[in-house]
Amino acid sequence: MTDDRPVDRIFAALADPTRRAVIRKLSEGPATVGGLAEDLPVTRQAVAKHLAQLEDAGLVDSTADGRRRTYRLTPGPLAKAMDWMVDVGGEWDERLRALKRVVERGR
């Protein structure tokens, strides 16, 4: 996967309720596929697939210890998506207020 649309990939990754549940679990601490599958109503295979997509989006990374792979959240990209929404949203609030002043002043 290319790295040219990070915010797009983050939102796409977050669009699925199971992946959001995985993120919620990982926000409590690192976990293995088996550990996550125990807490979620999906199979290990499904958890592994969702983790791969979250890893692709840069939201999750993993380390292997022998045959045991542990997954954890990478907070950067989530914060980046939030910053983008808050920053751009705030800019539009200001612009719309300016538009309102322009119209109402001209009356």
């Binding site: 040219d4 649309r5 915010v7 797009d8 939102f11 796409a12 669009a15 983008w84 929404m85 751009v88 949203g89 539009w92 609030d93 612009r95 719309l96 207020r97 300016a98 538009l99 309102k100 002043r101 322009v102 119209v103 109402e104 001209g106 009356r107």
Partner: protein
């Protein structure tokens, strides 16, 4: 994917008055230094106070309800040249009754077509 950003405001003024300000007076509400002609396919160019610019094209002009453009920001300073992701901005006006107009703006990521597609369209 849904729109990433959505904001709205209600303005005391007819939809025609608000449309005029939205499309003809961008210098008064978007940024001081704007060059745009509200016609489909025309360029929009904004110089922001921090020295960065945003450039793009007007995509929709449907008086007095819908105005949309796609743009991306460009910074050229001591850190080098950086270009932001393209986004699509759409302003939709609704008659809110009693002489008021609701303006809803959305800004969402809007990747440009892949190069081969763009080239094939030109060919």
């Amino acid at each position: 994917m849904a729109d990433d950003i959505r904001r709205e405001i209600t303005i005391q003024g007819s939809i025609q008055e608000v449309w005029r300000a939205v499309t003809e007076d961008l210098g008064a509400w978007l940024a001081a230094d704007v060059e745009v002609e509200a016609r489909v396919g025309r360029p929009i160019s904004v110089r922001w106070p921090d020295g960065t610019t945003s450039r793009g094209l007007v995509e929709v002009v449907e008086p007095p309800r819908r105005f949309a453009f796609r743009w991306r920001w460009i910074a050229d300073d001591v850190d080098g040249i950086r270009i932001g992701e393209p986004t699509r901005v759409q302003l939709v006006l609704h008659d809110a009754g009693e002489g008021r107009t609701l303006v809803a703006v959305t800004e969402s990521e809007a990747p440009l077509p892949d190069r081969p597609l763009a080239l094939s369209r030109c060919a």
